[in-house]
Symmetry: C2
Subunit: 413 residues, 2 copies
């Protein structure tokens, strides 16, 4: 069986919103082993919507449509559907009640337009909308199915995962599935990763291996086709093991796992505490660390000090160091790291100083120059980095590099 | 004239990447006054790519294709194009030289596959790729045009804006353009905004008005069709003035302007300094404030203190207040704000304490309860908020609300 997606809305074709529904639906279909061959976006125009639907239903077993279901005159999905598939609309009392209840709870007057949302094609199955007014519809058509859902992501997503995907799986008895795993690396460039595992991803066909580089990490995506979960897992872990042997601690996380989550696990396991002293990152490191539930157990204090005076006052950085080496120097980063460790009474201290730009750079100390230090009580290690990009990207790269330095230290203990 | 877009890549249909190229191209076409009626995504399959191209070229004057141009066997755009449009390929020496130079600079051995990227349809115009190896192509076909570009955004974007859009504008002498402006509001729910300006957006047809609500703000988008920039500007500002009269200081920014950028402008104009004391937001407020170039001129110090002891040590919060009112209380937020203002010696101090969750909530003080205080030297104002959502969303909402409190104060001075 094969499916296709149609997303409806002029705002998509004006580039005013990014079509995130597409990727979400596509990923769920892939997991369920349902082939997706085409996806079309079309504006709120009945004729073009109708043409698109005709083509789709001629070549696919299931057509999944999102958007164009609102109560306003702009929304044409329903009208195009009724004419193209020659459907007869009937008022569905249950849907009308749900819509009335939705407005009653929110104490809003229901408009006459909302009543039209309760008109449902005869023979269609209604998919309840728990987060809005327009219901979803599952419409059988010549041994095929047209499925329509609202375009608002939080209304569409539960309908898709709870009702539509299980229905398609059972109806078409799909065999097999597609499973992906993403290994996230830090500290190696894309070409270095290619050099280390290129032979694997040029020869492996199941799973396939793809590299996705972003400004702060390189992801390795393994995608396996298999008859069931167990087989897919086996295929993926076989290759994953080989990749891990070669990339080792450069891999910091799997799928949606973040660097800070990984650090949280290591900190908790080892019963350590940490404090941070930030200059150029301005609190980004502490904000990332505290994104993790339970981080109050190991993250004790953060200080953001831009000025020399505040480095002296709050971290006991020596005035002579600031004067002799400059605020952006390995020495100051080290004194910040050890200073915050001592004043906060934590096991570890992380210090960072640099020039995020766009102003403040010199020939000797250009924008993007950053020093990062980690104080452990036994030693203070520090590192010089030079980052490219604009201010916010430099902050992001500096924060991730500091977190990675901490992570690698925790792995060694 | 009308255009359509085809994005090529199996990774799109597996939901592994979000198709951001689509929105980017669509927005540039709209700005240039070029109608976009359809967008199709198709996998790396020659037959389906060919079918999609045939349909597109039959109904559109310009077909813009991205993706499927890489040097690997998966990439089928070139092959489908050649067969469908019956093109003859010739080796383009200049393109070959550029590709060779690209590899030489990076000290990488060029593979034989890369040579195929230098094969160009006879009669086509080559669009240089400054950030990669695959060139773009502008192929005339029966008074129409097929334009192909690589799928990598940083390679595609300059080709589109520098070459393709100016070419299409001049070739088709498009008249008129579409211009959008986004007014960003904070502090009003979507239904409240609807209540205040609903009559405008239900009657205004040029510009059209649309509301886009996200978890922290409601955006109002005005989209005008006009013959030229000046006319578009006039249409938009006419309605913008009416909206600003009604929403006033609830509007904090235009287009990509952020809350913190707006604050930066106000702080600089008024010559004020600020420091922050954060508990539940963990540095997110200071990180946002320091995202703005030049923020070191007014942002002096930030303190992140989770524990009671660190609130006492670094901010002079009274132990008795912590014991009597609890760490999450308006009194503690106020003492944090005034404490950080005093120890850092700044004009303003911002304090925030709350429960970001998922743990730590009680019946009296549930997850999402946050107190925010602003100390000005003359007074200390504070505010109780209750935010929904998961930890990261609560942090985001709390930080934005705190920044908005600061912004409204600065507007009043």
């Amino acid at each position: 069986m094969n499916a296709e997606i149609i997303t409806v809305g002029t705002e998509l074709l004006l580039g005013q919103i990014v079509d995130t529904n597409f990727a979400f639906i596509a990923e769920r279909l892939a997991e369920a082993g349902i082939n997706l061959y085409f996806k079309t976006s079309v504006g709120d125009n009945e004729k073009r919507m109708s043409d698109t639907l005709k083509l789709a239903i001629s070549r696919s077993d299931a057509v999944i449509i999102t958007g164009g279901l609102g109560p306003t005159v702009d929304d044409v999905t329903r009208a195009a559907l009724v004419k193209t598939l020659n459907l007869r609309l009937v008022l569905n009392e249950q849907v009308l009640k749900n819509i009335e209840a939705f407005f009653a709870v929110r104490n809003i007057t229901m408009s006459q337009n909302n009543v039209s949302q309760a008109l449902v094609p005869a023979g269609a199955t209604v998919i309840e909308n728990k987060n809005g007014t327009a219901p979803g519809l599952l419409i059988p058509y010549e041994n095929k199915f047209v499925i329509i859902m609202p375009g608002v992501p939080r209304e569409m997503k539960p309908m898709l995962t709870d009702i539509v995907i299980p229905f398609l799986k059972s109806r078409f008895q799909t065999e097999g599935l597609i499973k992906s795993r993403v290994l996230k690396t830090f500290g190696l460039g894309e070409s270095k990763v290619d050099e280390l595992i290129g032979d694997l991803f040029r020869t492996s066909t199941n799973p396939t291996i793809a590299l996705l580089a972003s400004s702060t990490e390189v992801k390795i995506r393994l995608t396996a086709k298999a008859r069931n979960e167990g087989e897919a897992e086996e295929l993926i872990s076989g290759v994953e093991t080989k990749i891990r042997e070669r990339l080792d601690e450069n891999i910091f996380g799997v799928d949606s796992e973040t660097m800070e989550k990984n650090i949280g696990m290591l900190m908790t396991m080892q019963g350590l505490t940490i404090s941070t002293a930030e200059s150029c990152t301005g609190g980004l490191i502490s904000s990332k660390l505290t994104d993790v539930p339970g981080s109050s157990g190991y993250f004790i204090r953060g200080v953001i000090c831009y000025s020399n005076q505040s480095k002296i006052d709050t971290l006991d950085v020596k005035r002579s160091t600031l004067e002799n080496c400059g605020a952006v120097s390995p020495q100051v980063a080290e004194e910040m790291a050890d200073g915050v460790r001592k004043v906060a009474g934590t096991d570890l201290g992380l210090g960072i100083t640099g020039i995020a730009g766009p102003g403040g750079g010199t020939k000797q100390k250009p924008v993007g120059l950053v020093y990062i230090a980690l104080a452990t009580g036994n030693e203070i290690i520090s590192k010089e980095c030079r980052f490219g990009g604009e201010r916010i990207l430099i902050k992001e790269r500096a924060a991730q590099t500091a977190l990675d330095m901490l992570r690698r230290h925790l792995l060694k203990i």
